[in-house]
Amino acid sequence: MECKECHKLISREIDGEISEDDSKKLETHLNQCKECGRLRASLAVISEVHKGLGKVEPPPTLLEGIMSRIREEDDLSKLGLRAKLAVSAAAVFVMLAGAGVGNFLADRSGSGVNPAADDIFQVEHFANYPPGSTGQLIAALTEGGEYEQE
């Protein structure tokens, strides 16, 4: 076995990850090579010192700090959900309003009625629209008039 291969086996041996066969090969080499023997001793010392390095205590406020951030996170998630719901509701409203305005304009152009802009938003005006139109429906809903479906 070459020294280079031996060095890798030493590292595995220190970690308890060496096979029985490799362990025997390593011992044979170490019996013949003092340099590799010294290397093994040094690496073993480093590993022992590393293992025994002191532990530090986390600050006593760490646990509460983490839990406080978790609660903030939960609050933000709830807020985010509410915001999403509000945006969805607004989007539905805009779509419905858009559809209503579209129908209204279509009714107006089909009826030949061309009122002044000021009149468009007068409820009485809707009574002039043809039967079955959105204008008639609005008039019926607001004034109690009749609405005939075409």
Partner: protein, 189 residues
């Protein structure tokens, strides 16, 4: 209750279950970060970040391997990413006075004053050398030597092959040996 069960409960909105997980892991995780950053402030920030990530991702947690492996996977990624972002940062020496269980108290030569000094020197040099290691090597050797993970588990944590892990640990040892050569020679003479 085991760690995985606590994670499932956390995902279901049980904050007490999550608190139990934090209580179990805050100390080893904080130490893992402290050993790689040499800074209490950074270790605290990273520990907080880890638990926040863990909480946010609790719904995606599935028990494929041990929870310990899972949490150290997040820790290792955070430590490596932190080290890469801060590679030009000046490393401040460790604050040693509050550490407990130092090697000089544990090894048999601990009672000889001369050997005590040498052990203390070795510890100091090792701590400084560990901080200088490339982040992936630092994680690999810490997971093996201080956390006791097997090569197979480290491979899973770091997303590497077992032979890559073996090689990283060996490279870390070679670097540490060069850094500590002088102190080791003094000790042997």
């Amino acid at each position: 209750m085991d760690d995985s069960e606590l994670m499932y409960r956390t995902a279901a909105g049980d904050q007490r279950a999550f608190r139990e997980l934090v209580e179990r892991y805050q100390r080893p995780i904080y130490n893992f970060f402290f050993r790689s950053t040499a800074s209490r402030e950074d270790a605290e920030d990273l520990t907080q970040k880890l638990f926040l990530n863990l909480y946010k991702s609790s719904g995606r947690y599935r028990k494929r391997s041990s929870f310990k492996t899972y949490i150290y996977k997040i820790a290792s990624n955070l430590a490596i990413s932190f080290a890469r972002k801060n590679k030009n940062r000046t490393v401040i020496p460790f604050d040693q006075e509050e550490e407990s269980g130092n090697i000089s108290e544990e090894l048999p030569y601990g009672r000889d004053p001369v050997l005590d000094i040498q052990a203390s020197e070795l510890e100091g040099s090792l701590k400084a050398a560990l901080v200088k290691l490339p982040p992936d090597l630092s994680s690999a050797i810490d997971l093996r030597v201080r956390k006791g993970f097997a090569y197979r588990e480290i491979a899973e944590i770091m997303g590497k092959s077992i032979s890559a892990v073996e090689s990283m640990i060996f490279r870390a040892r070679k670097i540490l040996l060069v850094e500590l050569k002088e102190v080791l020679d003094q000790r042997d003479s």
